[in-house]
């Protein structure tokens, strides 16, 4: 008979202020196979973990159920405690009574407590049927692929080679540098862009570990952490690159505006066009910058983070070159966050750059009058419309995602957010990782970022990619699907359902049947659901385990009423 221990967490007040945890623990004690049921203030604290471990040893438990928060953050911790107490970690079952109970049913403590009891009964029923699983180890190809040769990709690649890791840099254009090839001075540091790019190029060219592929596009990606195969098309030739880790650094692009007469009125240009002019030494005598063109409004709600700082930098370049020039910045909020950018803002104000705030409901109008560009803008302090005559109107448009971001996302099977930027694994604590192991993200492909932020993220992605490569091995998840060749009719539904190309139909014991490549399987369960013969089973989520949970739910609900 299985010996199940149940541990209910108060999570401080997070759970205990809604769910009567003592009642739940008392109920758990009455469930089949349960030897002990306890409750802790914080099961995840050292004290809580220590008491679980002690209880496992004292009561000779062979199955553990923790009813607490989310497995997303806490499952590894509890599995580890099971292992330390001598239980295979797959004999652990997590029941979520915080996100699934106390947080969403905060106003119905009685019903919430009943639901917690039901969920615990289900967890206990499943736990009794759990089987030990073994993780496998797999070797790691000591090579990284970096997709994108802009500042983020250059930084990541250059860091990897400095760490003695073979690196392949894939760039779709015929030169490195990305968007910076059109920017001569980087703000707010006023750093020479060419010098910076040359420094990277020198490092990469000078290293036998670096392999640069220009005019190259990724066409296919196969495999998993430690064992990827990236297919590229380089100048029309196909190449296959085996790699242990992949870094996505595909950058972002400037939105081409539709507003303010762009394209029809000469002198109305984008920020990047101004960068090109300034690089050639063409400094206008006067300029009006309009911020948030095509952003922070319905349809494209986000703030693109860097545009205000770029305008501040360029306004100062114009003023520094010619202190008599007239420069205005029309904005909705000046986003000069931090120390260095706020210094730019102060310097710009002191040197005579005029800042005028406009509202979403009173946008400026740009027109040509008597041969001059004129910007009409409502000034709220004076409560009147001012006409600003100017040589140039610079439209600060947001950075948007690359046109091929969706394709890259599909090839790598990594998600994009609603704005088309790549979606990281966790916005707070895993900013340069994807949820897929072994694939990392950095730079403006994730979110528009300053040069300094891009460099930090490039380094960070290099650190993350280096970890499995330096270790030389990775552990492959044990919760995978397996097929029973006796039941399998080789219909191929599972092959079509698998998003990871982990299943093939092959001959097993003289019979055609489905076979799962466990290293590729992510345990999503799509194949199990698609199988008409019950031949496909997912370890840790077998049909009999799930049926037992449903039976337990019905029993617990009936008893509860």
């Amino acid at each position: 008979m299985p010996r199940v221990g149940v541990f209910i967490c108060h999570c401080g007040h997070n759970i205990a202020s809604v769910v009567d945890v003592e009642k739940v623990a008392a109920y758990a004690k009455t469930l089949p196979n349960v030897i002990v049921a306890e409750h802790n203030l914080y099961s995840c604290s050292e004290e809580g973990l220590g008491s679980i471990k002690k209880s496992i040893e004292k009561n000779k438990l062979d199955r553990v159920v923790v009813a607490a928060c989310t497995p997303r953050t806490h499952e590894p911790l509890f599995r580890k405690i099971c292992e330390q107490a001598g239980i295979n970690k797959y004999l652990f079952e997590f029941v979520n009574i915080r996100e699934h109970v106390s947080w969403i049913h905060a106003k119905e403590p009685k019903a919430a407590t009943e639901k917690a009891k039901n969920l615990v009964a289900m967890g206990v029923a499943k736990a009794a049927l759990l089987e030990p699983q073994q993780e496998t180890e797999s070797s790691v190809i000591p090579r990284a692929v970096v997709i994108g040769g802009g500042l983020a990709g250059l930084t990541a690649a250059s860091s990897l080679i400095a760490q003695n890791i073979e690196t392949e840099l894939i760039e779709k254009n015929n030169e490195l540098g990305g968007i910076l090839t059109n920017v001569s001075v980087i703000g707010p540091e006023f750093e020479d862009s060419k010098k910076l790019l040359d420094n990277y190029a020198k490092r990469l060219m000078g290293s036998p570990k670096a392999h640069i592929h220009l005019n190259s596009k990724v066409t296919a990606v196969k495999g998993f952490i430690g064992n990827f195969e990236v297919t590229i098309n380089e100048n029309g030739t196909e190449k296959k690159i085996p790699a242990g880790a992949i870094i996505v650094a595909t950058g972002a692009r400037e939105l081409v505006p539709k507003e303010y007469g762009f394209g029809s009125l000469p002198g109305v240009i984008t920020q990047l066009e101004l960068e090109k002019m300034l690089a050639k030494g063409q400094v206008p005598k006067s300029a009006v910058f309009i911020q948030c063109v095509g952003s922070r409004q319905p349809g494209r709600e986000y703030c693109s983070r860097i545009c205000c700082n770029v305008s501040l930098k360029n306004a100062l370049r114009i003023i520094r070159a010619n202190p008599k020039s007239s420069v205005s910045i029309l904005h909705r909020d000046i986003m000069s966050y931090g120390t260095a950018s706020e210094r730019l803002y102060r310097e710009a104000s002191e040197k005579g750059v005029k800042f005028m705030r406009y509202g979403l409901d009173s946008p400026a109008k740009v027109s040509k009058r008597d041969g001059h560009l004129v910007v009409d803008v409502y000034d709220e302090t004076l409560d009147e419309i001012l006409g600003l005559e100017t040589d140039l109107v610079v439209l600060a448009t947001p950075m948007t995602s690359q046109e091929d971001a969706t394709d890259v996302g599909k090839l790598l099977k990594v998600p994009l957010d609603k704005n088309g930027f790549f979606l990281e694994a966790h916005v707070k604590l895993r900013p340069v990782e994807f949820a897929t192991d072994g694939i990392f993200i950095c730079g403006s492909a994730r979110w528009p970022s300053s040069a300094k932020e891009v460099i930090c993220q490039g380094l960070a992605a290099a650190a993350k990619a280096a970890i499995p490569i330096r270790r030389g091995k990775v552990v492959i998840e044990a919760i995978t699907a397996q097929s029973d060749p006796e039941k399998c009719a080789a219909c191929g539904n599972c092959v079509a359902a698998c998003p990871y190309e982990a299943i093939e139909i092959t001959t097993i014991n003289g019979k055609m049947a489905a076979k799962v490549n466990e290293a590729l399987c992510k345990g999503c369960g799509a194949c199990v659901a698609s199988c008409p013969n019950d031949a496909m089973q997912q370890r840790g989520f077998t049909t009999n385990q799930l049926s037992a949970m449903i039976d337990a739910l019905i029993k617990s609900t009936v008893e509860g009423t």
Partner: protein, 432 residues
């Protein structure tokens, strides 16, 4: 060259840098001056813009740190001296006497229950008290108590000793002395984070004068289920529920007289807090007084829009001039100017006022920079060498990450922390 790295500061930046370096195979010594790692993030109730419970996402990382075979924690410890040059740095760490044998202490808390001394609780931003023998917070890592020698009656007056009597593990040791640990390290990472500047210096806002004026970090604790009011949002003056709340941004920041820079995170945490208070008091009305609404991160602008549309948060672009006591001494009166040509002075009553003070390099950071011979920038943050090396300090082999270098939010700090791990690996692999 040793494969050893000293990380100074056990907040989220120091924790992440330690974990990445340890995963790379380096031996990490994480030095934290308070009794537990966790830093500022441990004090936060939730994090923007997803309203993830802060401790819930931090706690697993803290435990990973203490469990990692390549990480040695030195909590309640300070850097005594650093000599030598990269890659042969000699670091002296002072492990201050906890007056507790941490090998024996089980963290059961029996001693805490019996200790008769009550002093203001730093973790709770002094909104409640703690004992002279204490755990800074329930999820503390390591979960070992500490005797605060300055306030312990046994240490100061040789009276009491009740903690020793009740401790069944025999862990209390009143005579324990500070210990010096010598580490030969190749590199040092400074991740010392931030403090709130003293908002009472701006006397017009009445912090410390009016009971119902609090700091944003105090509000964070008031909102926390494990905080001093168990998550009840009540007015400090009379304990009644707060119905009308105001936030003032840029208190002492973006202000030449105090701190000219922008602290980077206040617009967003005020927005977050204004959303969270609704979950505590459904009919509460919040107003945020601001200069520029800096919502520049992923989903930040959407978060502000949500606060405005779904949570009724009122954003007012104005820097309030002063705060006065209301006639009955409950709540406050805030005077501010409305915008535009017809702008006029308005005085409005609020139940409670939350100040968002300038965030400054943590106490002792300047002294530590002196000890390590590091340059500071004009805002007193650690200076990096150049754009190409954003996590290199002015001294080779000494690196920096997180708020110690400039104001930034958690994801930027975490990125820098992983980035600094890459830089250390470059240097230790022979790169320049």
């Amino acid at each position: 060259m040793s494969q050893r790295v000293v990380v100074i500061g056990g907040g989220i930046a120091g924790i992440q840098a330690s974990l990445d370096l340890a995963d790379m195979g380096y031996e990490v010594h994480l030095v934290e001056r308070s009794p537990s790692i966790g830093g500022r993030m441990a004090q936060l109730d939730k994090t923007f813009p997803t309203n993830d419970c802060s401790m819930c996402i931090l706690s697993p990382k803290m435990i990973m740190c203490s469990d990692h075979e390549n990480i040695k924690l030195h909590t309640y410890s300070e850097i005594e001296s650093v000599s030598g040059e990269f890659p042969h740095l000699k670091v002296k760490i002072k492990e201050k006497a906890r007056r507790i044998d941490i090998n024996r202490c089980t963290g059961c808390g029996d001693c805490i229950a019996k200790c008769p001394v009550k002093i203001p609780n730093e973790f709770e931003e002094k909104l409640s008290t703690r004992k002279a023998i204490y755990l800074p917070f329930p999820q503390a890592v390591p979960r070992k108590v500490t005797i605060d020698a300055e306030n312990c009656r046994m240490v100061t007056q040789k009276k009491c000793g009740v903690c020793k009597k009740v401790c069944q593990a025999g862990a209390v040791d009143f005579d324990q002395k500070d210990k010096i640990v010598d580490i030969d390290a190749s590199a040092i990472i400074v991740a010392t984070g931030f403090d709130l500047s003293d908002a009472s210096a701006l006397s017009q806002y009445g912090l410390g004068v009016f009971k119902d004026v609090v700091t944003s970090l105090q509000l964070e604790r008031l909102l926390s289920a494990s905080g001093p009011t168990n998550g009840q949002l009540v007015r400090p003056s009379d304990g009644t529920e707060v119905k009308k709340l105001a936030f003032v941004q840029c208190v002492g920041s973006r202000d030449e007289k105090y701190h000219p820079y922008c602290s980077s995170v206040c617009c967003m945490y005020a927005t977050k807090e204004s959303i969270l208070v609704r979950e505590h008091v459904p009919d509460i009305n919040s107003t945020i007084f601001y200069i520029d609404m800096r919502a520049t991160g992923k989903n930040f602008q959407e978060f502000v829009t949500r606060a405005e549309k779904n949570y009724g948060v009122r954003y007012v672009r104005s820097r309030p001039a002063n705060v006065q006591s209301s006639s009955d001494g409950k709540g406050i009166l805030l005077t501010y100017e409305t915008r535009g040509l017809a702008g006029e002075q308005v005085t409005e009553g609020f139940d409670m006022l939350v100040l968002c003070p300038a965030l400054v390099p943590s106490k002792g950071a300047t002294q530590l920079a002196k000890l390590l011979k590091l340059d500071l920038d004009e805002d007193k943050f650690l200076k990096c060498t150049d754009l190409r090396h954003p996590v290199d300090s002015s001294r080779k082999g000494v690196l920096l990450c997180g708020f110690a270098g400039a104001p930034m939010d958690i994801p930027e700090s975490v990125s820098q922390a992983s980035g600094v791990a890459a830089r250390v690996a470059e240097l230790l692999e022979g790169g320049d």
